[in-house]
């Protein structure tokens, strides 16, 4: 049994400790907002927060998260930065297919926490790990600037 704290709730899960966090979230906890895109930390669709840091849940064994705080897209709106980002995402009409957007938002939330007023270069550095096949990058960039400007 591994104890996990996900979005403020405590869970005991009976899985192989090498199982990636992604599949514990999706298959065991039915939190399907976090997406599977590549399975090798290339695309960022699986981005969640582990103790406030953005991690790639598709390659991070669940054992590493034992007893620690995981936050997923389902709880993004629970803090001010997350709320601002979601509002900005709507105002800029960012998503197309939407599949990568959970990861984009989770990455953007950490970026804004670390750089409240990111430059374009900061956005390049912070967001280039997240692939969007539909090509929403221009709007992601605008939405991050917009969220940063909201108070």
């Amino acid at each position: 049994m591994i104890n996990l704290k996900v979005n403020g709730k405590s869970y005991n899960v009976d899985v192989d400790p090498s199982t990636p966090i992604l599949w514990v979230l999706r298959d065991a906890l039915e939190l399907t907002g976090t997406k599977f895109g590549c399975g090798m930390a290339q695309c960022g669709a699986c981005t969640v927060h582990l103790n406030g840091d953005a991690i790639r849940s598709c390659i991070t064994p669940v054992a590493r998260a034992a007893g620690q705080e995981i936050k997923t897209i389902e709880a993004l709106s629970e803090d001010a930065i997350g709320k601002r980002l979601q509002k900005a995402w709507i105002e800029e009409d960012v998503p197309q297919c939407g599949y990568c957007q959970s990861g984009q938002l989770m990455a953007a939330a950490v970026l804004l926490k670390e750089k409240p007023y990111p430059t374009d270069n900061d956005i390049d550095l912070g967001m280039s790990g997240n692939i969007c096949r539909c090509g929403t990058y221009q709007r992601v960039r605008k939405a991050i600037h917009r969220a940063a400007a909201m108070k």
Binding site: G37, C97, S128
Partner: protein, 723 residues
């Protein structure tokens, strides 16, 4: 169907977008058409004037959308059309995915499906009529309620208003009465000047569920007792299972079953991770079949040899051989473009639950009818025992419109075998290596100029596979021995050349190929727009002016080209070290022109800005058009810079995003989209933005290096200045 749609449809069938034209023939299955309707039945709380709209007593308007949402905005633009004619309150409008039923068939495909950049234009008339019929019935219901003449009534934002008395009643309150009134055969549609939503940048209805994790893609479907399967498929296309041993797979905790299906061996487990570990642990012996020696370099030679053969004639005008004698300058070059994977962000997947008397499927698909029919065939069930739910699609680009329904049939076969609901999940590697690629395209093209620099002849031979030949699409898509999707964008060009000859040589099949966002135009535009740039250079002319000079017989394309040149400031000098290139292309009923501005920095091509002009006729949602153009630029640029599927010893060399690379945020150019005010017939927007990207960018690069890029993707040596 109106004249506009009939004409567009004819064009549509002539060109690629024939996507489904052939399916009318191939999948004309009477049993399915007789399927019992289970839709549009007005429940007590609702009034459904037709299959596309439901009005609730709670004033909610539900638009039932028969085109899959794969990012292109169908779940917003189609509800906008109905809501506008209905004079609905947009805040009360929601969408719902249509079930599978002939009433939801694509008007051009003869089956339910999404593709060919058609969703909005092909439904324009039907959806306006659906909304207007609803409005008519609500007006009639209000007239009866108040015992007044309907002509004294007007509608506004979900209310019927009797102006003389100031009375007002909500649509929800009229539901019961409206349901008793017979719909008229014809209704009057709004004048364009009265549109409240159409033409406005309306926010997408599906954004809220895409930013909080609640939207359900196929991958996210949860049903009680569902197991997960990961499948070992042949490592070489056309290969078969010779033998296998599943003992090591079964020893992995969580693995439940190992079963053989047509396309390979499925490892079924109580979640993705054990299923994947199980698949990795399978001991497989494959019979790799005839493609076991497939090799990209050898294929280049094979295609070059094929290009020398006489092909099927796609276009013949004038007399090329006589013109050759008159030309003062001649050019003869080769362009070679690779296989490409669609690589939608959501890997393919499908949930199936096969029981003795039913088969239920949850899938993000572009081809509902084909999928459902295939499931009926596999299970031996009647079509009306198959129920297919369309989820959100995590990208499509053509990959989820497959004629053999393979990603659905796998799930149905596994569920049938193990007697349990199952979700088949493809890994990214399965997706990249899974075939159904944009065909490799090898072009030989030659032209000659007269003394004034104008082209006298144009000779173009295309070698590529056909995904239509040998399928139900053949009858429709292959005309006079030419697969329209192989030559579209090349057989018709917007430049005047008096003597023209375009041929297609079919490359042998084997590697599964498919329509890939913009289909034939994804390669022909690069060749035509690159080559015309070469001719401009040879003629000593500005590439924009040279094109313009040859476009008198194509005023629409010319106008778009001129518009993009104006918007991009084509005549203005650039900062040192920057180059610009231009391209224009018509596809899917729309014309798109682009100007790209590039530089070379640290041995990389940097695309700074792409200015886009698009003429797609009547605009429904301008913001969706802009979004599609932005996305098309990324899609086209990704292919130009990185896209290549290649083979060695029969196997695909690429496997994931590290070696099948995607454009990323730090490489994103500024995309500046300008939509033209146009009276042209409505065209598509999902695909037409892809074709001009690569030529505009590579034409810009040429101005910096003096070297022509004729093979994609871009190679490091392409960035070095010509010595």
């Amino acid at each position: 169907m109106s004249e506009q749609n009939t004409t567009s449809r004819r064009k549509f069938l002539q060109t690629t977008a024939a996507i489904g034209g052939g399916l009318v023939i191939g999948f004309h299955l009477p049993a399915f058409a007789k399927q019992v309707r289970n839709i549009g039945v007005p429940a007590a709380e609702n009034f459904a004037p037709n299959a596309f709209v439901r009005i609730g007593k709670d004033n909610m308007i539900t638009v039932i959308v028969n085109h899959s949402e794969m990012g292109q905005g169908a779940y917003t633009s189609l509800p906008m059309i109905i809501a506008d004619e209905l004079d609905a309150d947009w805040n009360n409008v929601k969408f719902e995915a249509a079930p599978v039923d002939p009433v939801y068939n694509h008007p051009g495909f003869g089956m339910q499906g999404t593709g060919g950049s058609t969703s909005t234009w092909v439904e324009w008339d039907r959806f306006r009529n659906a909304g207007a019929t609803g409005r008519y019935l609500l007006l009639a219901a209000a007239a009866q309620t108040w015992n007044v003449d309907p002509s004294t009534l007007r509608t506004e934002k979900g209310f019927v208003i009797h102006s003389p008395s100031g009375r007002k009643i909500s649509y929800g309150e009229l539901v019961d009465k409206a349901a008793t009134i017979t719909a008229p055969k014809e209704v009057k549609l709004k004048d364009a000047k009265d549109y409240k939503l159409i033409g406005k940048p309306i926010k997408r209805l599906d954004t809220p569920e895409k930013i909080d994790g609640s939207g359900i893609f196929g991958m996210d479907v949860k049903i009680p007792g569902v197991l997960t399967a990961v499948i070992a498929r042949a490592p070489v296309f056309g290969g078969k299972v010779k033998s296998f041993n599943g003992d090591k797979a079964k020893a992995i905790p969580g693995v439940k079953e190992v079963v053989q299906i047509d396309r390979g061996i499925a490892v079924v487990a109580n979640g993705f991770w054990p299923a994947k570990l199980g698949r990795d642990a399978l001991e497989m012996v494959w019979d790799e079949g005839p493609l076991s020696t497939l090799d990209t370099k050898a294929q280049t030679k094979q295609y070059a040899d094929l290009a020398k053969q006489t092909g099927a004639v796609a276009k013949k005008e004038g007399d090329v051989s006589t013109a050759k004698d008159k030309a003062v300058k001649k050019f003869d070059v080769v362009y070679d473009l690779p296989y490409l994977a669609h690589a939608p962000m959501e890997p393919l997947n499908c949930v199936a639950d096969v029981k003795a008397d039913s088969c239920e499927i949850w899938v993000g698909t572009q081809f509902q009818t084909v999928d459902a029919m295939t499931a009926a065939g596999i299970t031996g069930l009647k079509p009306n025992q198959v129920k297919l739910h369309t989820t959100l699609l995590g990208g499509g680009f053509g990959r989820r419109a497959v004629l053999d329904a393979h990603f659905v049939s796998e799930a149905v076969q596994v569920s049938k075998a193990i007697k349990s609901p199952v979700k088949v999940v493809w890994t990214r590697e399965d997706d990249i290596r899974g075939g159904y690629y944009r065909p490799r395209a090898y072009h030989t093209i030659s032209a000659g100029l007269d003394a004034a620099g104008k082209p006298l002849y144009w000779e173009h031979n295309i070698v590529c596979q056909s995904f239509a030949v040998g399928t139900p699409l053949e009858a429709m898509m292959v005309q006079n021995g030419v697969d329209g999707t192989a030559v579209e964008g090349a057989s018709e060009i917007p430049y005047h050349v008096p003597n023209k000859h375009v041929e297609w040589n079919m490359a042998p099949n084997g590697v599964p190929t498919l329509w890939w966002r913009s289909v034939g135009s994804s390669h022909t535009a690069f060749v035509v727009e690159g080559f015309i740039d070469e001719l401009a250079k040879a003629a000593g002319k500005d590439p924009f002016e040279y094109r313009r000079m040859l476009m008198d017989k194509h005023p629409r394309q010319k106008k778009v080209l001129e518009y993009v040149a104006t918007k991009a400031g084509w005549k203005n000098p650039l900062p040192a070290g920057r180059g610009k290139g231009i391209a224009v292309h018509e596809s899917f009923g729309s014309v798109v022109a682009m100007v790209a501005e590039v530089s070379i920095a640290k041995n990389n091509l940097k695309v700074h800005k792409v200015t886009v002009a698009v003429d797609c006729g009547q605009v429904v949602n301008p913001d969706t058009i802009k979004a599609q153009m932005e996305g098309c630029v990324v899609f086209g640029l990704t292919a130009a810079l990185y896209g290549e599927i290649s083979f060695e010893n029969g196997k695909v060399k690429q496997r994931n995003f590290h070696d099948y690379k995607m454009l990323r945020m730090n490489e994103m150019p500024l995309v500046d989209v300008h939509i033209m005010d146009s009276k042209e017939k409505m065209g598509g927007v999902g695909e037409p933005g892809v074709p001009p990207v690569a030529p505009a960018v590579m034409n810009a690069l040429f101005t910096l290096t003096g070297k022509r890029v004729r093979n994609l993707p871009l190679q490091p040596e392409d960035l070095k200045r010509k010595v």
